[in-house]
């Protein structure tokens, strides 16, 4: 299968500090790909480059193999179908849950069309379906800022899904969630992957082990290795990176 997203030799430097030193990564349609690695490995920076928040100083980010999105602005990339969920829940606190979802509908986002936009029955059904999927039906008229932390995370995932993305970028989606919430999120992610590719940065190894198929390990701005979780765990280089010395892993 052709990759839907390919990063080729992506480099980023912040005032001389090389955050990414030539990253190559391919994501296939409907794949769940986990990105792991120690702190400062450049995982979040890579997501930032893909979604347009940080501009790469060199290299290409190809969408569907033809479109180079490296220089596009954030909203243009979103309109192509690449959405991003940030680590901290970033919902609109002063809008209700319902209004948050309304803004996330896949729609013409130009000023004039939004001003004249009317809620259609189809939109309503879609939003209600999403509310029950993320378990926020009863809270729909509450201000989003009043939700519990886990609920905010889910609302944000819901907001990304409303846009029918082709690629969903998740940055530590289960941070701060309880055990059952984690499990439900993991299942939700697999459900999502029937329709789109998911690229997840995650620190929680337990979660990665339970829900990953393909894992990419990053270290010091480079891709160290790729494979299934069990392959990764056998890899000596990875153990060295995480634990310093091989001996202490045993």
């Amino acid at each position: 299968m052709q990759p839907i997203l390919s990063c080729r030799d992506v480099r980023v430097s912040f005032n001389g500090f090389q955050a990414l030193q030539g990253v190559d990564l391919e994501v296939k349609p409907q794949e769940v790909r986990f990105l792991i690695g120690p702190n400062g490995a450049g995982k979040t920076t890579l997501l930032d480059v893909i979604c347009g928040k940080t501009k790469a100083s060199d290299g290409d980010v190809l969408y569907r193999q033809v479109e180079n999105i490296r220089k596009l602005q954030e909203h243009e990339i979103v309109r192509l179908g690449i959405t991003r969920k940030f680590q901290a829940p970033s919902i609109f606190a002063n809008l209700t849950v319902w209004e948050n979802l309304e803004l996330s509908l896949k729609q013409e986002r130009g000023l004039w069309s939004v001003m004249r936009a009317k809620m259609t029955g189809e939109d309503k059904e879609k939003m209600e379906a999403m509310l029950s999927r993320i378990g926020l039906m009863d809270q729909r008229h509450q201000l989003a800022g009043m939700l519990a932390h886990g609920q905010k995370q889910w609302l944000e995932i819901g907001m990304q899904l409303m846009q029918d993305p082709e690629i969903l970028l998740l940055d530590e989606p289960i941070a701060g969630m309880s055990g059952t919430e984690r499990h439900k999120t993991g299942e939700l992610i697999h459900e999502i992957s029937t329709a789109c590719s998911v690229l997840i940065v995650e620190h929680d190894m337990e979660f990665v082990r339970n829900f990953s198929k393909q894992v990419t390990v990053m270290h010091e701005g480079k891709v160290l290795c790729e494979g299934t979780m069990s392959e990764i765990q056998q890899n000596e280089q990875v153990a060295e990176v995480y634990l310093g010395r091989r001996e202490s892993a045993c």
Partner: protein
């Protein structure tokens, strides 16, 4: 909701019937305050709803007023050179003044010039993601530039004196009380229309995008919206409202000078909205009327120390009513409703205790 609508209708009808119960002097003052209320509506849109704090709306108000004043000046001069130009030794009417002898052009310019200027300034700043206090500072700098320019080009703008001594508007004498009453009513109608327009905008989906921009501009980008175009639009709209207010102001007051568009008036405009309640359109209108009424009441009653009272009013609002008068009223109402709902159970508990 319908109760609210009825309230708005009553409010505007009461304003419209002002000539029936206000003296000529009070009516003139009220007309002026209602012009300020139109400016306040625009500031409420950009500040309360979108989170852009502009400290330079005096410029847009002033430019709108000057555009209309230029027409009035030319009409009053009966085809001759305006008096201040003669004093400055100008021999022929400057080219940019000529089209302003047409009232349609002048009135259109009083809307379009502020809107275009704001759109240009907004585009350059918002596109480069300049926001918050940096934007406020830039808007202040714009005020300084324009005031300096208007004072310095005395032969074109009338300098510090501004433009005044108007006699007629479209042939009607501005001194006639009937004309003043008609202008007052026109102001109320335009205020009502501006209010309706702003309310429709804020209740549309675009209005929710504006609130979202206020909450987190960067997050809006990740929903596929380009916040720049929304911000430029709303900033330009608020400038147009200020220009419109300037026109109505100069027609009723008969004077516009650089002092009225300076830094202090610009900041005062924001204060009206803060006092009334920046998250509420009706609050902005009330704020403009209340602050200006208080200002004229204090200055009439305590001519020596009136500014102290005004200062106190601002301190009280900022310290105790962070969401303005309307915000305070709303939270009081909410509390009362909650108390009502709990009322039954609380009474039962009381009777058990006693």
């Amino acid at each position: 909701m319908d109760k609210k609508k009825l309230g708005y209708w009553l409010f505007f009808i009461a304003l419209f019937l002002g000539p029936l119960y206000l003296t000529e002097f009070r009516l003139a003052l009220m007309g002026k305050f209602l012009c300020f209320a139109i400016v306040a509506l625009g500031i409420c849109l950009i500040w309360g709803y979108t989170g852009i704090l502009s400290l330079g709306h005096g410029v847009y108000f002033g430019i709108g007023a000057y555009c209309t004043a230029m027409y009035l000046k030319l009409e009053s001069s009966n085809g001759q050179l305006p008096d201040f130009m003669e004093w400055s030794g100008v021999s022929a009417l400057p080219a940019f003044w000529i089209p302003f002898s047409n009232p349609v052009f002048a009135l259109a310019a009083s809307l379009i010039v502020p809107a275009l200027l704001a759109a240009m300034l907004g585009f350059l700043t918002f596109k480069n993601r300049i926001k918050g206090v940096y934007f406020s500072l830039i808007s202040q700098a714009v005020v300084v530039v324009f005031v300096t320019l208007f004072v310095a080009k005395q032969d074109w703008t009338g300098g510090t004196n501004g433009l005044t001594n108007f006699t007629t508007f479209l042939g009607f004498s501005l001194a006639s009380p009937l004309v003043q009453i008609a202008l007052y009513m026109l102001t109320v109608i335009i205020l009502g229309l501006s209010f309706t327009l702003a309310a429709r905008l804020t209740n549309s989906r675009a209005g929710r995008v504006l609130s979202a921009v206020r909450d987190g501009e960067n997050r809006v980008r990740f929903l596929g919206f380009n916040p720049t175009s929304y911000k430029v639009f709303v900033y330009s709209l608020s400038a147009a409202l200020a220009g419109l207010a300037g026109t109505l102001f100069v027609l009723q007051v008969g004077l516009i000078s650089p002092a009225m568009m300076g830094i202090i008036p610009s900041i005062e405009m924001v204060l009206w909205v803060a006092v009334g309640g920046r998250h509420s359109l009706i609050g902005a209108i009330l704020g403009a009327v209340i602050v200006n009424s208080a200002k004229s009441f204090f200055s009439e009653t305590y001519p020596d120390i009136w500014s102290i009272f005004l200062g106190l009013l601002f301190i009280i609002v900022v310290m105790f009513l962070p969401n303005g008068i309307v915000g305070a009223f709303e939270s009081w109402n909410e509390k009362r409703n909650k108390a009502k709902q709990k009322g039954g159970t609380a009474d039962a508990a009381d009777s058990v205790v006693s």
